[in-house]
């Protein structure tokens, strides 16, 4: 097990280097030097500041040295200061992460709680009414643009019915509420964003769960279980589900990039002050240090997600564990 983890860690090194090179390449796509744009946008920037920035990015140096510096700063998680308010980029990111993380965690849990039963029951009753309905629902789920869904939900629940607030994460009179009032206020504000962020992955995951369960249900040991006369519930939930759910673990890791990208869209629509909104604002105002930081961090998070999923999978499935040992 430990061996496997170590081996897997080693394979991460070239990927991390690759991510740094790709990101470095993206910075250099900017027209001219990043400092030139800054200069145009903000006439008040003194020559001194400009020099300082040029030094920060090392833009007057050969490209190899520039890259080396970028790598060194990456290692220290130093992404420089925002072009907009001069605050260190990492600080800005750190204060935005909790809300985004919270929304995404809740929606991941929601996805699992809904998608797994859907997948299981579809596979069990293959070709029957429920399965057919769900197949159609999955296609619908894949085809609905999240931002459109968000617009329609806001229109229905906030604008027409006045049940939920239109945007933001808390009401103006938030401070006057007691604990339960505050909790309720958060829930009222976040229910739509969470639903929207869960929606797309829901279709994918339930489809995936169905396929996985379907394959397991056609294995010999399940037939044996039937033959032994075990009750169906027991077969489905004890014997089949355990094995069918394994591949789904990896999907959590794979769904991270989608969730990060999705955050930009729903946070912008619902005006939620998280990472996604920060990214959107940075893109709109061409705040390059923030954009680069988000890009690199999201890539690392994806890498980490895949890595953890692999480890979890290996932990859960002895075949992989022993297979790795043999090598």
């Amino acid at each position: 097990m430990l061996n496997y983890i170590l081996k897997r860690l080693l394979t991460l090194i070239p990927l991390i280097l690759g991510i740094s090179i790709m990101s470095f390449f993206v910075i250099h796509l900017a027209p001219g030097k990043p400092t030139d744009i800054r200069f145009e946008l903000n006439q008040k920037v003194s020559l001194q500041t400009r020099d300082r920035l040029e030094k920060l990015y090392g833009l007057d140096e050969p490209i190899i040295i520039q890259y080396w510096k970028w790598l060194k700063r990456l290692g220290q998680f130093d992404f420089g200061r925002s072009f907009i308010d001069e605050r260190p980029v990492m600080d800005k990111i750190k204060e935005r992460i909790p809300i985004t993380l919270a929304i995404n965690l809740v929606s991941i849990c929601l996805i699992f709680l809904i998608a797994i039963p859907i997948g299981v029951f579809s596979a069990v009753g293959e070709g029957k009414g429920f399965d057919r309905t769900m197949t159609i629902m999955v296609f619908v789920g894949f085809a609905v643009p999240t931002f459109w869904l968000a617009l329609l939900l806001i229109k229905l629940f906030s604008v027409d019915l006045h049940w939920l607030p239109v945007s933001g994460i808390r009401s103006l009179e938030f401070e006057t509420f007691n604990f339960w009032g505050k909790t309720l206020d958060y829930i009222r504000h976040l229910i739509l964003p969470i639903f929207v962020s869960a929606f797309t992955s829901l279709a994918g995951l339930s489809r995936y769960m169905r396929t996985s369960m379907f394959e397991v249900l056609h294995q010999d040991y399940i037939r044996t279980a039937y033959a032994k006369g075990l009750p169906k519930r027991r077969i489905y939930f004890r014997h089949a589900l355990k094995n069918a759910i394994l591949p789904v673990i990896t999907i959590v890791g794979l769904s991270i990039p989608g969730l990060i990208g999705g955050s930009v869209i729903f946070e912008q629509i619902f005006a939620i002050p998280g990472m996604g909104k920060l990214t959107y604002d940075a893109v709109m105002s061409r705040d390059y240090p923030v954009i680069m930081c988000v890009l690199v961090i999201s890539a690392f998070l994806t890498l980490l997600g895949n890595f953890l999923a692999d480890i979890a999978y290996c932990f859960a499935d002895p075949r992989i564990r022993y297979g790795a040992k043999k090598q």
Partner: protein, 271 residues
Amino acid sequence: MMSRFFNHKLALCGLVIILVISAFSFSAPLICRYQPDDIDIGKYLMPPTSEHWLGTDLLGRDLFSRIAYGGRISLSVGFIAVGLMAVVGICFGALAGYYAGKIDELIMRFVDIMFCFPRFILILAIISMLGPNIFIVMAVIGLTSWMGISRLVRAEILSLKERDFVLAARASGVNDFKIIIRHLIPNSMGPVFVSATLGVAAAILLESSLSFLGLGVQPPTPSWGNILMDAKACLGVAWWLSVFPGLAIFFTVLGYNLLGEGLRDLLVPRK
């Protein structure tokens, strides 16, 4: 083959949806009574009437025409992006699969690295550097989505190149380039067609998301995404502005997904 396709209800349904929407968009000048950018301030935010079938927007522009003309843009972006994605994916996949060894290792590591970047964030970063316009959107969507295809093509070619017909071709002195172009790539197109069809759906969704955020196709050129961006401002008063363009995206994406899944059933042999 064809009869199997016509018996596959989902695929057929998808194809019909795609044909209807494409016909609607590309015959826009024939069926639309207004130009998509004809401003008529006197008739702003009119609900659907017999004169303006789907109503008008904030500037009094006819929504029906805007959706029809916007469809041309959105569909073209989807197609060109996918064309680019297929070409790049096939080239890398074929090189990796055929030459194996170091080239393969290098290309596949590059694919892994590209997969690490959340696509939407990478696209946003690149667009923020280069500035949003329709060609950059096409290029960026295509160049950030070829990895899946190159993995598929590589896998196909790895197994194909051991087959007798490739040996025969090589024995008769055909050079590598011709073997790849004439024999290997055509035989590995099945899964590529499936991915490309699904890819059109994904590209249209991406383009509309970007345009909705104001980072894709720029006004006054209409695209389904940026019509919805305008709709956001009039959410309370004009339901038709947000409902119809969204339906257009929805049905187009649905059509390509249905067709793609249908093609998968038909073209990709199951285990």
